[in-house]
């Protein structure tokens, strides 16, 4: 009785812990990077894991950011300055904490919104406690290929959404700039033309008094 309960408890623990470990942790985040700021993220990776880091600047300034990826010993694996979008795949050669940083230190007053997707390892299987001895049936392998295709559709949708957000941000910027500068220019036109006339009038008024003084 005791050993049965004990086994069940261990089994429950394993089942609970399983979704938390091994396989993948794909992190996809969008955050705001203020001007002159640097934001770093860390992840513990085991040796031999295939990882992909993908980032894109969504809004802000010239839509560029510095990115730097270092491995556990501080060796720089990837370093690019002022990039708008990039994707970098690598296989972890060492165990340890990998670090990647985004820097907006070159910018004086524009905040940037940066999206990144850091995929570590493969996706977890649907049935964690299965150990596959028989091959997948035709139906099951069809399901698997549909699943992979849909995953790439969702991925393309994300990229499209980011590009559209970027385009929309530029369009809204353009709209406010056009409105602001149009009103500004109209005012400048009025002010300049009125002051031209006033200035000319003042020239002629002064000269008349000096000529009369010289005359007498």
């Amino acid at each position: 009785m005791y050993s049965y309960h004990g086994t069940i408890r261990v089994l429950v623990q394993v089942l609970w812990a399983y979704p938390l470990c091994g396989w993948t942790f794909g992190s996809e985040l969008t955050f705001e990077l203020p001007d002159n700021a640097k934001q770093c993220f860390y992840e513990d990776i085991t040796i031999g894991t295939k990882c992909t880091l993908e980032f894109q600047v969504v809004t802000g300034g010239h839509y560029d950011v510095d990115c730097r990826l270092e491995d556990a010993d501080g060796t720089v694996l990837y370093k690019e300055m002022k990039k708008q979008y990039d994707s970098f795949t690598f296989t972890a050669a060492k165990n340890g904490t990998y670090k990647f940083c985004f820097s907006n230190e070159f910018s004086t007053f524009t905040h940037k919104t940066v999206y990144f997707d850091f995929q570590v390892g493969e996706d977890p299987p649907l049935f964690p406690n299965e150990n596959r001895v028989t091959a997948l049936t035709q139906m099951e392998s069809a399901c698997v290929s549909i699943h992979e295709a849909l995953k790439s559709v969702i991925d393309y949708q994300t990229h499209f959404r980011l590009r559209e957000a970027q385009g929309r941000s530029r369009a809204e910027d353009l709209n406010t700039r056009v409105a602001f500068w149009s009103i500004g220019e109209a005012l400048i036109l009025l002010v300049v033309s009125i002051s031209q006339v006033v200035l000319l009038r003042s020239f002629f008024s002064d000269r008349k008094t000096t000529t009369t003084r010289v005359g007498s």
Binding site: V10, F25, T30, F31, F41, C143, R168, A171, E172, L174
Partner: protein, 211 residues
């Protein structure tokens, strides 16, 4: 053995450092009726040991979530390990902000806090082994359910895309209108001020008997 090894390792893999009063915000642009689950774990820096503590009781994080209209939909205090969840009712950019509520950090921790964060959106929030157990589904049925969830997410995203494209079009048309009307207005101002200048100066010079 497996469970012990896994629990001791970092549970939610990606982490970053946060200062004492610092507020870190993340943006999630999602369609409506989408579920978002966020999990975090915090670790306090121990000055004496020179490393991060495994568990930090007494430490809390304040989580604030705003919807696209900047209305607060969730504002709660959680412990050092927390799990928050919300479902979007309007499509758009939702903002998830975290900040530490502890002021004792500077005294004990040298102001450094490590935050592990994991945010899952849409169909990634579904726990398939749980669903299989609850609804007693066979493997094939579970795979079909997963595919259905994925397709539903794609559909929602497409609808959201339609709504965003309309906003983009409205912005472009507004810019077009601005350019058109303000150009006409500026040209008219230019012509009229030019005419006014010439007339005014002519009458001025005639009055001064210079012409």
């Amino acid at each position: 053995m497996v469970s012990v090894k896994c629990i001791l390792g970092s549970v939610y893999a990606l982490y970053f450092h946060i200062g004492e009063t610092e507020k870190k915000c993340f943006i999630e642009e999602i369609p409506d009726e989408t579920m978002v689950i966020g999990k975090y774990r915090t670790q306090l820096w121990d000055k004496q040991m020179g490393s991060f503590l495994q568990t930090s009781p007494g430490l809390g994080m304040h989580v604030e979530i705003k919807d696209p209209d900047t209305k607060i939909i969730l504002s709660r205090q959680y412990g050092s390990d927390g799990r928050f969840t919300f479902t979007s009712h309007t499509p758009g950019e939702h903002q998830i902000c975290l900040h530490s509520n502890s002021t004792k950090m500077a005294l004990f921790a040298g102001g450094k806090l490590r935050v592990h964060l994991d945010i899952q959106v849409g169909e990634h929030t579904n726990n398939y082994p749980e669903i299989a157990a609850k609804d007693k589904l066979t493997e094939l049925q579970l795979r079909a359910r997963q595919l259905l969830d994925q397709v539903e997410q794609i559909q929602k995203e497409q609808n959201y895309q339609q709504y965003r494209e309309e906003r983009f079009r409205m912005t472009s048309e507004s810019t077009n209108q601005h350019v058109l009307w303000w150009s006409i207005a500026q040209t008219l101002i230019l012509i009229f001020t030019g005419i006014w200048q010439l007339k005014h100066l002519k009458s001025f010079f005639e009055a001064k008997k210079l012409v």
